[in-house]
């Protein structure tokens, strides 16, 4: 089902639809998380992705109020090539991996509790404190970045120099 939804994300003409389909994918994935008893992640996934991020996407779409692909479908060769290579990648990956003898490895259901917020929290703030701090820097930079980008600076000026190439 996740796969189906994913394919729909890719092929659906109307961006809004694909957003919605993406949400479906996320929900499906969250389901898998539950199955793999990563409860915390499941919740976070739903809240952050399906909730916040997707809303952001929709918002941007509305802002640009383009609901259908406006441009005509040019160079479909690129499309076909894209699909083909994507398929090829899938093939080679599968080919590479199916030789992996992981049959024995079982991901069993409903056992263990590492997925609980409690344990995760302990690990996070004990072993993973450094990365945690670091990620704050990441956010900081993102924030600054958005600020820089966000400010208006008047009308676009033509690119400096002449247009090279060709």
């Amino acid at each position: 089902m996740a796969i189906l939804a994913a394919i729909l994300v890719v092929i659906s003409k109307n961006p809004v639809h694909s957003v919605l389909w993406l949400i479906v994918v996320f929900i499906a994935i969250s389901g898998h998380y539950i199955l793999l008893d990563a409860q915390f992640l499941a919740i976070v996934n739903l809240i952050v992705y399906a909730g916040a991020i997707m809303v952001l996407f929709l918002f941007v779409f509305m802002l640009m109020n383009l609901n259908a692909e406006t441009e005509p479908q040019k160079n479909r060769w690129l499309k076909i090539a894209g699909v083909v290579t994507g398929g090829a990648l899938l093939l080679v990956l599968v080919a590479a991996l199916k030789r992996a003898d992981l049959k024995a490895q079982i991901a069993e259901m409903n056992k263990g509790d590492i997925g609980l917020i409690h344990n995760l929290g302990i690990a996070l703030f004990h072993d993973y404190v450094i990365p945690f701090e670091i990620s704050s820097v990441l956010f900081l930079s993102a924030m600054v970045g958005v600020v820089v980008i966000g400010r208006r600076e008047g009308a676009p000026k033509p690119p400096f120099g002449q247009d090279y190439g060709a």
């Binding site: 690129l78 090539a81 894209g82 290579t85 994507g86 090829a88 990648l89 080679v92 990956l93 080919a95 590479a96 190439g165």
Partner: protein
């Protein structure tokens, strides 16, 4: 005395330097004095040395001046060898050389002082190199002289450098000599490999020790060198062209001395040649062929100097015949006599040309004996000498060679004698057309006719005397036993067998009779035929072939010069388009590739990602299939 021998070449060298460096400041008179004086002094020195050498039991002396080249095993000293042979040549060179210098002082007096000086400096340089050639105690020094004289002949032929044709003649001479020199050079290297030395003494000492093949190779290569220098088939064509130079030069270089260097060299290395009969045959045949060929060509020439030139070639052929049949002293003897009478002939011709105001075509001459008696007499004597009329010098030397040839192989003799007949014929054709009959030149030429000044006639007389009496240095056994002074004198240098095969007294006399008879016939026929009505008509038929020298020059052009030229043209093309083309092609390829690769940078994100993914796929494929 011999230890002072280095002075003999040194003096002309000094003369060369003085005249060369101060050519702009010296007055002609001084130049002449320097030019002649140095040669005269070295002549005197040579005489003194000769006086020492001619004594019985004189051992060849090697004077070591300094080490020229010495690399680990190879040691080449700059050393001179004084023995009978070299001394004889010293005398010829310096003696005749001096006379010709003297002659030149007046022959060239119209030249500007600088050029006059240039002329004499060249001449001195030539004498120096020639002396180096004959004095050298090893093949390298000999070779140095060898190329030196070549250079001088180049410079002197092209002396009047304003005239391009003269220049080309000079170039031809130099290059043809170079071809021979290459052979000589290879011979030297072969000696180095075989004997580890180039000293005469050492080489001859070891000569017996090495294989027949090597000796033959060496001797043949040396002979190649000789053909270049001494104008033998196939490299003789430069000599006639060399007549472009001033006449005294022709006399000195292209008749008396330089061209006989080949004979000297072979006589010098007679030890090797004795060991290589095959080569001897080759030498003999080539010599004979050259003699005949040149003689036939001489029959139909109209340029007075050309005739003499071909006769020189022919006479040189004789000498090689002599060498080929082992009569080394005969050959040397002929060198000497020939030096006298041929120099005389050239100088005579020179004085004729001088009188005719530069005219060289015999058809415009005639009856000159009225105007220039001295020249006429001396010239006649010389003609008799070269034609082999007894008791003139030519008779003795030529007959000695012919006799030896007969001993070797009668056919040699037959051809030789026939050539002698031709010689007599064309020489007297020349004589008759020049001095007999009526004058055929223009009026002002006739007006201008006069006997040459003393500076020119004195040498003529001296040479004439020599040309007459020189023969008595080598009276054949047939006339008087052990009267052959020259043979005796040269025996230490040329070895016992130097005289060639001995003949019975009777046969020898018979042979002489035949040759003399033929000579007389030739002389007489030519005399009567050309005194009255000289041949002015354009030659036809076979005569035309002869007049055009058997078209040999044309032949060489067709088979050597043209192909080389075409090849060079092709190479230039090849250079520009193939080799350089490839080099530049690489550059162009890079450019082209660059222009194409740029197009990958399509500017489309989709395209970029696509290519990236393709790259990943490729890596995985390598991982899956190609690797291990």
């Amino acid at each position: 005395m011999t230890h002072l021998v280095w002075l003999v070449p040194a003096l002309p060298l000094a003369g060369f330097l003085i005249n060369g460096l101060f050519r702009n400041s010296l007055p002609k008179s001084l130049t002449g004095i320097v030019g002649c004086g140095t040669v005269l002094v070295s002549f005197v020195l040579s005489l003194l040395i000769f006086g020492e050498v001619r004594q019985e039991g004189f051992q060849p002396a090697v004077i070591n001046l300094f080490d020229f080249i010495s690399v680990d095993k190879l040691h080449i000293a700059f050393s001179f060898q004084v023995d009978q042979l070299s001394t004889l040549f010293l005398l010829i060179i310096t003696g005749v050389g001096f006379l010709i210098h003297l002659y030149s002082t007046s022959y060239m007096h119209e030249e500007e002082p600088p050029h006059f000086a240039r002329y004499f400096s060249y001449l001195n340089l030539f004498v120096f190199s020639m002396l180096l050639l004959v004095l050298g105690a090893n093949y390298v020094i000999l070779f140095i002289g060898w190329e030196g004289v070549g250079l001088c002949s180049y410079l002197l032929i092209g002396y009047w450098f304003k005239n391009l044709d003269y220049g080309y003649a000079a170039r031809k001479a130099f290059i043809m000599n170079r071809i021979g020199d290459l052979g000589f050079l290879i011979a030297i290297f072969l000696m180095i490999t075989k004997f580890g030395s180039v000293d005469f003494a050492e080489v001859f000492g070891k000569a017996g020790g090495v294989g027949r093949g090597a000796i033959t190779a060496i001797t043949l290569l040396l002979f190649v060198g000789a053909t270049g220098k001494s104008a033998q088939i196939p490299l003789y064509t430069w000599l006639p062209d060399a007549m472009a130079g001033p006449t005294p030069v022709s006399a000195l270089i292209h008749a008396a001395t330089m061209v006989t260097a080949g004979i000297y060299m072979i006589a010098r290395s007679h030890v090797l040649y004795d060991l290589a009969p095959a080569t001897q045959t080759v030498v003999a045949v080539i010599g004979l062929a050259t003699a005949l060929l040149a003689a036939t060509i001489a029959l139909k020439q109209h340029d007075i100097k050309k005739v003499l030139a071909y006769s020189t070639v022919s006479q040189l052929g004789y000498m090689f015949l002599g060498l080929g049949v082992g009569a080394y002293d005969g050959a040397v003897f002929h060198v000497m006599t020939h030096a006298f009478f041929k120099a005389l002939l050239f100088l005579g011709a020179g004085s004729v040309i001088h009188a005719m105001g530069g005219e060289q075509d015999m058809r415009k001459m005639g009856g000159l004996r009225k105007w220039m008696p001295a020249t006429h007499i001396t010239f006649l004597l010389a003609c008799l000498a070269i034609s082999g009329i007894p008791p003139f010098s030519g008779f003795f030397s030529k007959d000695e060679i012919l006799a030896a040839a007969y001993g070797k192989n009668p056919i040699y003799y037959v051809i030789g004698v026939f050539t002698a007949l031709l010689t007599a014929f064309y020489m007297f054709r020349l004589y008759a057309m020049t001095f007999r009959g009526a004058f055929r030149g223009t009026h002002d030429q006739e007006h201008h006719l006069h006997e040459s000044p003393a500076a020119m006639t004195i040498p003529l007389w001296i040479l004439a005397i020599l040309a007459v009496v020189a023969g008595f240095l080598g009276i054949p056994e047939a006339f008087a036993p052990h009267a052959h002074w020259l043979a005796g004198y040269l025996r230490p240098a040329l070895g016992e067998a130097a005289h060639g095969p001995e003949l019975a007294k009777g046969t020898e006399l018979g042979l002489m009779a035949v040759s003399v008879a033929l000579a007389v016939i030739g002389v007489g026929y030519a005399w009567v035929r050309f005194s009255k009505k000289p041949d002015l008509a354009e030659p036809t038929g076979f005569g035309k072939v002869l007049a055009n020298k058997w078209y040999v020059d044309e032949l060489y052009n067709a088979i050597v010069v043209r192909p080389l030229d075409l090849l060079a043209q092709f190479l230039v093309f090849f250079e520009k388009n193939i080799i350089d083309g490839i080099v530049n092609g690489v550059g162009r390829l890079v450019h082209y590739g660059s222009r194409q690769l740029r197009l990958l940078q399509s500017g489309l994100v989709g395209g970029y990602v696509l290519l990236m993914v393709v790259g990943i796929v490729v890596l995985f494929l390598v991982e899956l299939f190609i690797k291990k």
